[in-house]
Amino acid sequence: MTATTPALRLEGIVKTFPGVRALDDVSFDVQPGEVHALMGENGAGKSTLMKVLGGVYQPDAGRILVGEKPVVMASPLEAKANGIIFIHQELSLATELSVAENVFLGELPRKRFGRVDWDRLYTVTDEILKRLRVGFDARTRAGDLSIANQQMVEIARALTHEAKAVIFDEPTASLTDAEKVVLFDVIADLKAAGVGIIYISHRMEEIFKITDRITVLRDGQYRGTIATAETDEEAVTHLMIGRALDLSRNVSHHEIGDVALEVRGLSCGKLFQDVSFEVRRGEVVGFYGLVGAGRTEIAETLFGLRDPTSGTILLDGQEVRIHSPADAIARGISLVPEDRKGQGLVLGMNCRDNMTLPQVDDLKAGPFVAEGAEVAIFDQYRDRLDIRTPGWRQLAGNLSGGNQQKIVIGKWLSMHPSVLIVDEPTRGIDVGSKSEIHKLLRELAAQGYAVVVISSEMPEVLHVADRIVAMYQGRVVRTFTSEEVTEDNLIQAISGIGGQAAA
């Protein structure tokens, strides 16, 4: 395949952020008419790489070639002009405009005096839509379309340009099986037209069905490119995981106590159905599954951010109803949310105030907040969690990811909860801090907390959890003990392969 000129080639791409080497010398190429899978765990550097390709980030070193021509892209518009087209996971349509206007957004065909050439706009768009074999026309309002059809509009957008390379980022995340078939047909058409395609997905099944080669990233580094036909799921999985970080299986040496949290047949609309599990004091229970499998939504329901449509929650054997985070906190349930900066911290506030935020009401001297008591709490948890900050006055937004996460964890520990739910504990955190956080979670369990860890990183759940609940499309597929679980049976369970029998 190397005989032809690649559609797209990356050479030695490096991108660093303060404290993190997000991309470390990444090189690979995509041939015309090839579907090239890009794989790696969350945090492996895929999205950073895509932002470099899309002109959002500038690489610190390395170059990008489209065909034989090296290109420098200072903006997403320039990436598009160079024939690199993105189909994003998150749709960015102007929902009030027609499909045609969306397809040609920013590039509406014009007549004299700047008037829009509506006739041409609609005819050209309808031609493109016909190629895509979709059931709506150019005049439909974009907001009236299903998610799958909105994605088709994004693809239609790609087809208006002479695309050299099209990048699909988790395109099937919100599609039904029937819709997937249409999408794969479209990809096959693009392929036949000689376009190079980068296909990003976690779903092995799809990767092996439609791709020609697979490139794997791990911790920002290039781990190799293999022909899909000559490999199997196990080999790819092995490339994706397996790292220098200590991720040996955890063995509990302490006593496992009583059931702290029990969930029976919990459902929340279409988000998750009939979920049952229990968490004992002294135990870490991991939740593993693909993005969209319903794990975060379960945590949000337990924390009172969503109301369940059916099912029961029991704390220490007592049935409870939780309608708000305030309820959850009062009953001893804490949540360290997935998006630390967006949901966990008030970035413009100092470290101390962030840490005592849920309990300032209990720290009063007369009408005012007892700041001395706050500083005492901050100092205590700074020492206990080894939070590295110049002092409590430091704004939370100025800390590194690992220290920010410790502030959020400290915030809850200082409230002495019984159940601690941690959603993606190490997302966006550098490798060193990762192992510290893992150790901390284990210690908390040893101290008698019931800990729930939701993670998209398999090594993390394997390392940190006593038991693992595998989820697929809103359902619990199987609960593994740490003796039973292997990388293979876990990946199969969360990909919806074979695991159903054990439910």
């Binding site: 959002v56 903006s75 924390f303 951010l305 708000s324 985070p325 305030a326 959850a328 906190i329 009062a330 949540l335 949310p337 967006g342 949901q343 966990g344 911290l345 008030v346 970035l347 413009g348 506030m349 105030d353 935020l357 849920p358 300032v360 009401d361 009063k364 009408p367 005012f368 907040v369 915030k411």
Partner: protein, 333 residues
């Protein structure tokens, strides 16, 4: 690091630097360009300045809390007028007249209750419907102003009570009642915002509502408290002002909301919420009043004053943006 310190100083002390600049400029312009024959920076003039800033200033203090909380209140000018009407008109009621001078505190209470009630209505609507405060209070601004006109048509409402005028014009150390009320409000609300749980939570909600909810903070009650507070302060501003003048026109208080917001923004409060201070707003209020007075001092007419204040507001925000830029790596949107 010195660069950083300088930057912080510029950011937080900018309004006070600006005030000094104004003082010096008008003093020099007045004396050396012979645009005025009196000194600008004399004590009487400065004491008067505080009194003149009081009506907008008291409202601006409330607006700061509202904006820190991530909301806005456009109805304060109408609340100001309605509270004034309730105060003056109630003193004409037969049972009130029978009370003699005891009707004064009662009339004040009626006015303040009116302000609290109107603020409560705003706050409850924002909380319970989830509609943006901008829209809710835009409606309230029109609606409350409508009530003002329904009360007495185009006619002014008046009631002259010399005891009340005496109270309004009483002074301590040369500061008349409105100025004293303004200063007291600044101090008390400053304590509320910096020292109480409510103040702390208001900042947290304005900075990151989702994180505040995740910390178990109930957002709605805090909104309501702040809307009641600003309603109360708008009414208090009316009490302080109309106790002395004794007559209110149905158009009084128009554009007060915009002047208050201007002062708050000049004082460094972010429109998006989460950042701002009462002391900064105090500076913003003084800066605007100084500018009005100063331009009058050197003989400029009112039209020029508005033009200059408008331009300065934009320049200040531009400077603020430059100072707050994260640098070249900032995401372009």
């Amino acid at each position: 690091m010195t660069n950083e310190t300088l930057r912080n100083l510029l950011k937080n002390g900018a309004i006070w630097g600006f005030i000094v600049l104004e003082l010096v400029f008008f003093e020099l312009a007045g004396q050396f360009l012979s645009l005025s024959d009196s000194a600008f920076m004399n004590l009487d003039n400065m004491l008067l300045l505080l009194k003149q800033s009081a009506p907008i200033g008291i409202i601006a203090v409330g607006m700061t809390v509202i904006m820190v909380n991530g909301n806005i209140d456009l109805s304060v000018g109408a609340i100001f007028a309605l509270a004034a009407i309730v105060m003056l008109d109630s003193m004409n009621w037969p049972f009130m007249q029978a009370l003699g001078d005891w009707s004064i505190p009662l009339a004040w209470i009626f006015a303040l209750l009116t302000g609290c009630l109107l603020g409560l209505v705003n706050g409850m609507i924002v909380w319970k419907t989830g509609v943006d405060a901008f829209i809710v209070t835009l409606g309230a601004m029109l609606g409350y102003r409508g009530l003002v006109f329904m009360y007495n048509g185009e006619q002014p409402t008046y009631h002259l009570n010399w005891t009340m005028v005496d109270i309004a014009e009483a002074d301590i150390l040369g500061l008349q009642t409105p100025a004293l009320v303004f200063i007291a409000v600044v101090v008390i609300v400053w304590l509320v915002t910096t020292r109480t749980v409510h103040g702390r939570n208001a900042y947290a909600i304005g900075d990151n509502r989702e994180a505040a909810v995740n910390a178990g903070i109930r957002v709605g009650p805090h909104f309501v408290i702040n809307f009641v507070l600003i309603g109360f302060l708008a009414a208090l501003s009316a009490v302080a002002f109309y106790s002395g003048s004794g007559s209110v026109n149905p158009n009084d208080g128009m554009l007060f909301e915009l002047w208050a917001i201007t002062a708050v923004v000049l004082g460094g409060t972010k429109l998006a919420g989460g950042k701002g201070s009462i002391i900064g707003t105090f500076g913003g209020v003084l800066a605007i009043q100084l500018l009005r007075k100063g331009l009058g001092h050197i003989g400029a007419d009112t039209e020029t004053v508005n033009l200059v204040i408008g331009s300065i507001l934009i320049v200040v925000l531009l400077l603020d943006r430059q100072l707050n830029r994260k640098g070249a790596e900032e995401l372009k949107v």
